[in-house]
């Protein structure tokens, strides 16, 4: 593989403090600097490919913290992704993971009912289910699927309440469509209240990032082109995304992947400029929300987990916290490690369950220490991981920030 990038690393080691995996293991070989070293030697062909190399390179949450903080400007995220892509070519993917991806990326094309039937009959999926835990998450703590996909529950266009302010398109992502319909409903309700006409293109598909993160570049192109065709429109103010991962895909990965594949990037760039995270969008327009917020004498204590794909990949660092602080019914308390990765990392929780469990346990402990009843996070992956690792007796509940906003609306 081509890896000129590796020569930019001066091996200063400052990435060690940013890497959640290194912080947990305290082994150089788990650090971003070490992965760059491995890739350098692999690219120079003096380190042959091997299952162990693949294992070491995969011990990464793809959280992007190293990239965001690297003094030398090394783009670890894209470097690691290309390396994974090479390793998949060498070894193929773990078969269980393949089934999970297939399930995710093709889900939208299948009919929902038939998919459930397929789940029941698919021996491979059954085998996964029998493991009792999926990765670090006990089966009984996995979220239930929506009765019907969110997009089948709602009209394609929702008219604003009160004075119209503008038009937005809503990219619902797989998380909301298949698991967290509550997030979809809250998003629509809040946007509608603020005066936006919300369009929800029915034929939208998985953003493709889950595939892409694992290095399967070629498979993602089809999804990308389809979404670009549906969402790149001159007559809208913004494309709203409620998932940090989808947001980073639409904002940054689409133009980058297409450029890599030598495909025209103009429309992707146009789309990228309009993409807004729901928390970011609401905070930027918070004056239109304010009239509809209720005052409360006894506010709820809320804390926040900042998703890596929002903070590092999209640079949305303070908006959501500021939004929570602006809500009268909320007493926002920051958790000491609110901006460190939860350990979910796409399929990391599945590939490295013990390590992931150690990382998430700390996050949960610190979130609980704030005394919060709600832990808000704008990423379904983080939400599954955090909620999946709570105990039955824990009084804290994991929600999307938009649900906290919804709680604050006047009835």
């Amino acid at each position: 593989m081509e890896a000129e990038e590796v020569h930019r690393c001066v091996k200063c080691g400052l990435c060690l403090v940013t890497c959640p995996v290194y912080q947990e293991l305290r082994e150089e070989s788990a650090s971003p600097r070490a992965k760059v070293q491995l890739i350098k030697h692999y690219a120079a062909r003096d380190l042959p490919t091997s299952p162990h190399l693949s294992e070491l390179v995969s011990r990464c949450l793809m959280c992007g913290s190293c990239t965001a903080n690297c003094p030398s400007g090394v783009r670890h995220d894209s470097l690691f992704r290309r390396m994974r892509s090479d390793l998949i070519d060498d070894y193929g993917e773990n078969w269980k993971k393949k089934v999970l991806y297939h399930f995710l990326t093709h889900a939208a094309q299948l009919h929902w009912a038939s998919k459930f039937a397929a789940f029941g009959r698919n021996v491979v999926l059954e085998k996964i289910a029998q493991e009792v835990k999926i990765g670090n998450i006990p089966l009984k703590r996995l979220p239930k699927f929506n009765q019907k996909p969110f997009r089948d529950q709602i009209a394609d266009v929702i008219e604003p309440l009160g004075k119209p302010r503008g038009r937005v398109l809503y990219f619902t992502g797989c998380g909301t469509n298949y698991i967290y319909a509550d997030v979809g409903r809250a998003t629509v309700q809040v946007l509608q209240r603020m005066g936006y006409r919300v369009g929800i293109p029915k034929d939208q598909v998985c953003c493709g990032l889950p595939l892409f993160i694992q290095g399967s570049v070629s498979k993602t192109k089809e999804n990308i082109l389809k979404n670009i065709a549906l969402f790149t429109r001159p007559d809208i103010d913004a494309v709203i995304v409620d998932c940090a991962t989808c947001g980073s895909a639409l904002r940054h990965e689409y133009p980058a992947v297409l450029a890599d594949l030598q495909t025209d990037t103009r429309e992707a760039l146009e789309l990228s400029r309009k993409v807004k995270d729901i928390g970011e969008f609401i905070f930027d327009n918070v004056e239109h929300l304010q009239p509809f917020l209720k005052a409360t004498a006894s506010p709820t204590i809320v804390t926040y987990h900042s998703p890596c794909h929002l903070r590092n990949a999209q640079g949305v660092k303070t908006h959501v916290e500021q939004l929570l602080e602006a809500l009268p019914p909320v007493d926002y308390i920051r958790s000491v490690d609110f901006d460190s990765c939860c350990g979910g990392g796409g399929t990391f929780f599945y590939d490295h369950p013990n390590l992931s469990q150690r990382i998430v346990a700390k996050k949960i402990e610190n979130a609980k220490a704030t005394g919060a009843r709600l832990l808000a996070t704008g990423c379904p992956g983080c939400r599954v991981n955090l909620a999946g690792n709570l105990e039955e007796t824990d009084a804290i509940e994991v929600v999307h920030p938009i649900q906290v906003v919804e709680l604050g609306l006047k009835v």
Partner: protein, 457 residues
Amino acid sequence: MLKPDVKSQLKTIVGRERFLDAPEDILSYAYDAYVAECVPEAVIFPVNSEEVAHILALASKERIPVTARGAGTSLSGGAVPARQGLALCFTQMNKILQISTRDRYAIVQPGVVNGDLQKALGRERFFYPPDPASFTVSTIGGNVGENAGGPRCLKYGVTADYVMGLEVVLASGKIIRSGSRNVKDVSGYNLTSLFCGSEGTLGLVTEITLKIMPLPEAHRTILAIYDDLEKTANTVADIIGSGILPVALELMDKTVINVVEDATQLGLPREAEGMLLIEVDGITEAVEKEMNRIVAKTRNNGAIEVKQARTQAETDDLWKARRSTYSAFARLAPTCIVEDATVPVSNVPRMVGGIRAIADKHKVRIGILAHAGDGNMHPVISTDIRNKEEWARVQTATREIFELAVSLDGTLSGEHGIGLAKAEFLPLVTNADTREFMAALKKTVDPHGILNPGKFV
């Protein structure tokens, strides 16, 4: 190659999980922040002194080289296992064992990260003064190994000034203790100082007792801008010579200013020839008075502008240029080297002018950054080690910088250590008898030369 039975004995000492020898694993212990690399034969992670003792006893018996490693941020190749053997990593011995604010000490294991200790002390309104710019990652063991410094060491002193006691495992596997929890202690040789800066060549440090201090009440920061580099450097000598002791006195030349401005767009004065970042701390009234004297001195020496920070945010802004320097240079080209020659402060003006001339003569991109208040130069060189011709010029320039420092009563390294980077220059600052004395010491405590071989001794 390590013999199979030696490997299995090592695994018995620490357990399977804390011993690595797969080619993919050991490759990541070949480097530190210097340019050289050498892959060890195995990597081991002890978690207590007894394990370290067992490992060293075995290594001595089998004549296996052992190189200690903290975070691997040494800029001189100190942590590079130059003769292979074992890389012995202290990163999992990272407990803060005790903090006593009443008696003003802290006891830590060597793998404790400097920044983590600062955080723990901060909660008690205390701090540990040595503050290498790598403090977020570098370990106290590594700080002791290199006798690390940092910006505020001008006023407070370096690592060795804060190490009150050590537990050290010798090459034989014997465990010794030096110093105590007492600020004053003359019970025998001052072994503690001997180990500071010894780069893991005399023994492996397994516990450290550090002096700590209450946080100062107030601090004030200014940035003085000059149209002449000599005037900038003269101010440094003038301030220190007059008896004022700032907590930090950092110098940046025109190259640094422009490289940083390109990278950050902070709005730095691109035409300026030099800048001084000066900070004082202490009791509020004293800080005020000292700063007034400093501002007067910068003006008397011809500063064209003096910016004074009034709030914490403004202070952070003033520090931004200084803090961004390493990163800005690291982004310019693939290889970034920070040199470390140091001269008595009255010679700072001549040293600064001399470095500039050397850079121009060899057409090497060198930015002059310095902890100028204590004469510690940090010329930052950005280059590409793969470009042989340029690399040769960089090496010539580096040698000339060392020679210049020595001609000005200076020394090779203020804080980064000798390691691999500067071993060949040691004769510039030590005579043969001195080096023989070091070798004799080394031979006595490490007769088989297993501790970090291939370095300066």
